[in-house]
């Protein structure tokens, strides 16, 4: 399934998502035409069971799609929508159509059957049809589906790349659906899911930035030879390549480990490595490109401004590293290596 997904989405991106379309999305806030044609491909149902009209895919089938979305700087909530329908199917809720998103950070209270509170930093929030949120509870974590029309915008915000990241007020709303999150899905599943998606998008964006940076270094001539033949440039390219390779592997490992639920160790590892790499990679890409890469005309910024945004979205490297470090220290040195090889902490 992976190969069909990768080739289908890449062909679509190649034909449709060019610099002009990405810039148009940034200028207008939303590229509705692009979303409509993407939506027709049916990828938002990728993880929905076949009997419910989906493709029954796994996360490892979809890592390539998320990487490609990153490498084409796709200015649409494709990954978010796939993730929302994945969680809905886990909760036995029928999949939703249209653009979907989720609020990994929210302060919601349930009074009777009415929800009140705030949703923070919802990717593409105002342009979506439905937004999901999780309310932690000792007995059982609850997932709520809210219709975009039910909630009011608190703040229209944008990340560095001009992608909408909105906050909403929820006032006395009856959610469209609500369900208990089944075990072993944890209350931070939206943070983990977002981190997983962004890790692959960053790996893809960095890979593309690496490609164009290497091409530029091979073509740009100074002092009578391509700048890529200078050791100082070569070492920067190599350092970036090391980080990009690590990012690709870390993202793939995070997706692969996430079968029953989003895997905490795999995903936090991926987000830590890709977020750190994003800083190094964007910096080197710009250093090698020189002044031309700093212009609006050159498309490098479509990637680097996303890297600077995505590295902090759904938990920065520091956020996840602190969580992971706490877990490591809590389990102690004797359990450290066994956890690394087992891929989880709790068996030893």
């Amino acid at each position: 399934m992976r190969e069909i997904f990768d080739s289908t989405i890449e062909r679509f991106f190649q034909d449709t998502v060019d610099t002009e379309q990405v810039l148009l999305a940034e200028k207008e806030g939303w590229n509705g035409t692009l979303w409509t044609s993407l939506d027709e491909l049916g990828f938002t149902y990728a993880m929905v069971a076949e009997k419910a009209g989906g493709a029954g895919a796994s996360w490892s089938d979809l890592c390539g799609v998320a990487r490609l979305a990153g490498s084409y700087a796709l200015p649409l909530p494709l990954c978010e929508s796939i993730f929302v329908n994945y969680l809905l199917s886990k909760c036995n809720i029928a999949p939703l159509t249209g653009a979907l998103s989720f609020a990994a950070k929210s302060e919601l209270r349930l009074n009777g059957d009415k929800l009140n509170g705030i949703l923070h930093d919802v990717p593409w929030g105002r342009y979506t049809q439905h937004i999901i949120a999780v309310v932690p509870n000792d007995d059982c974590n609850q997932l709520f589906v809210l219709s975009r029309e039910q909630i009011k915008i608190l703040e229209e915000a944008y990340n560095v790349a001009g992608e909408a990241r909105d906050s909403f007020v929820v006032e006395n709303i009856s959610p469209v659906f609500c369900a208990a999150l089944p075990a072993p899905i944890s209350s931070n599943v939206l943070m983990l899911g977002g981190a997983m998606l962004r890790s692959a998008q960053m790996a893809g964006a960095m890979h593309k930035a690496m490609t164009i940076t290497h091409e530029y270094a091979s073509e740009r001539v100074q002092f009578g030879r391509p700048i890529g033949s200078f050791q100082a440039i070569q070492h920067q390219l190599a350092q970036m390549a090391e980080h990009v390779s690590a990012s690709v592997i870390a993202a793939e490992a995070g997706f692969s480990a996430s079968s029953g639920t989003v895997d905490a160790l795999g995903v936090s590892t991926a987000k830590i490595c890709t977020s750190e790499a994003a800083g190094v990679g964007a910096s080197i890409a710009h250093a090698v490109h020189g002044a031309i890469g700093f212009t609006h005309e050159h498309p490098l910024h479509l990637l680097t401004r996303r890297l600077w945004s995505w590295r902090s979205e759904f938990g920065s490297e520091t956020y996840w590293a602190k969580h992971l470090g706490d877990a490591v220290c809590k389990h102690g040195a004797d359990n450290f290596w066994p956890a690394v090889t087992a891929g989880h902490f709790d068996t030893v």
């Binding site: 890979h207 690496m210 490609t211 290497h214 091409e215 091979s218 890529g228 050791q231 440039i233 070569q234 070492h235 390219l237 190599a238 350092q239 390549a241 090391e242 980080h243 990009v244 390779s245 690590a246 690709v248 592997i249 870390a250 793939e252 490992a253 692969s256 160790l265 936090s268 590892t269 830590i272 490595c273 750190e276 490297e317 520091t318 996840w320 590293a321 602190k322 969580h323 992971l324 470090g325 706490d326 877990a327 490591v328 220290c329 809590k330 102690g332 040195a333 450290f336 290596w337 690394v340 090889t341």
Partner: protein
């Protein structure tokens, strides 16, 4: 693009099944082995321990059964060696023969060479060292001057090797020598097996900055070796050595050298880390897991008979940075002075690895050489 070479791969179940066995063995064998000795990682030498591993079938295990191996998969070997390294077992006696000399002899050697060397390697009784660097040929390996000249049915070897780890403790060296003159420096080089007990060989220890001597300079003064001592094709030494580097640069020894210090650091920090400690331990953990996955990806390629030199260079360059970061962070995260003598065990391990760390990005190819390979390989294939 070369980054596509990195495909996520996992250890198959039958290889993973070995892990419990090797852990139990190490727990028993190393029960009294102090952490400061474990910190030696793969330069710790213990011939008896290597023989015990040989008896278990854990040396040369990927070699064919007819030569004493067990035809184990590359992943089975990976499980064994990463457990040995993570425990800080003294593996250096057989390390080079297991990692590269055995596979190199199997790939390029004559039947006689295979029959003579491989069974003894698998028993953990025959130790090899690697003769590459020379006084004026470090990173620029193709400029080596050591020479073997044919004389009747012998080769006469003259020259000098340097930084040869374990030369004083090994039985054989696989040396890269010049066997003919050629306009292109990479041509006319050959790999030869040299019995280190032969007359005309002088081995002198070189102390490292800690005062210990695990590497050497080795002098060849009209050393007569058999005409059949060449491995592979005369004049093809350069391409053989290049292929060998994929085996040499991608294994877990390229990121586990400071593992004992990392464990000890986690111990010293304890169960309630402060924010900075938690963050850095988390970062190191994520790096370790990812480096291991990168290394497993290269292992998959090697097991398919490919020679992933580019990806191996990435693992080694990225891995050395990680290994070197651990002593740096250990000093930054805890208010505790490193001690060569006295102090806590952690202070001694820290002192030792801090001093060893510079070698991590020198041995087996410097960071600068690796980064050149990585940059030039971008956009290839």
């Amino acid at each position: 693009m070369s980054i596509e070479n990195f495909k996520y791969s996992t250890i198959p179940a039958e290889a993973e099944a070995l892990r419990a066995e090797v852990r139990a063995f190490l727990k028993q064998e190393l029960s009294d082995f102090p952490n400061i000795k474990r910190a030696d990682s793969w330069i710790g030498f213990d011939a008896g321990f290597s023989r015990k591993l040989g008896q278990r079938g854990w040396v040369g295990m990927s070699l064919p059964k007819r030569y004493g191996g067990s035809e184990a998969s590359a992943f089975s070997r990976y499980v064994i060696i990463e457990e040995l390294l993570a425990a800080g077992a003294p593996v250096s006696a057989h390390w080079f023969s297991d990692r590269q000399s055995g596979p190199q002899i199997l790939k390029f050697g004559t039947d006689a060479q295979k029959n003579f060397h491989l069974p003894a390697i698998c028993r953990g009784e025959q130790f090899f060292c690697i003769g590459m660097s020379e006084p004026n040929s470090g990173s620029d390996l193709a400029s080596i001057k050591s020479r073997a000249i044919r004389q009747g049915n012998k080769w006469i070897v003259n020259g000098q090797k340097v930084w040869t780890t374990n030369a004083h403790l090994s039985h054989y060296m696989i040396a890269l020598v010049r066997t003919s003159e050629s306009e292109k420096r990479q041509q006319g080089l050959s790999q030869v097996i040299i019995d280190l007990s032969l007359p005309g060989i002088t081995i002198r220890p070189i102390k490292d900055l800690t005062g210990r001597a695990h590497f050497n300079e080795v002098f060849f003064d009209n050393v007569e070796i058999d005409e059949n001592a060449i491995i592979g094709t005369e004049g093809q030494g350069w391409s053989q050595v290049t292929a060998e580097l994929a085996m040499e640069r991608s294994g877990p020894e390229r990121f586990l050298s400071s593992m004992i210090l990392l464990n000890s650091l986690i111990d010293v920090i304890g169960n309630n880390p402060d924010a900075l400690q938690a963050k850095e331990i988390g970062r190191l953990t994520a790096k370790l897991i990812t480096l291991r996955n990168m290394s497993l990806s290269v292992t998959q390629e090697l097991s398919e008979g490919k020679s992933p030199v580019w990806a191996a260079s990435c693992v080694k360059a990225f891995g050395a940075t990680f290994e070197q970061e651990i002593p740096e962070l250990a000093q930054a995260l805890c208010d505790l002075s490193p001690c060569s003598v006295g102090g806590s065990e952690h202070a001694q391990i820290l002192a030792y690895l801090m001093q060893m760390a510079p070698s991590f990005s020198l041995r087996g190819g410097t960071r600068e050489i690796l980064r050149g390979i990585i940059a030039r390989g971008l956009g290839a294939n």
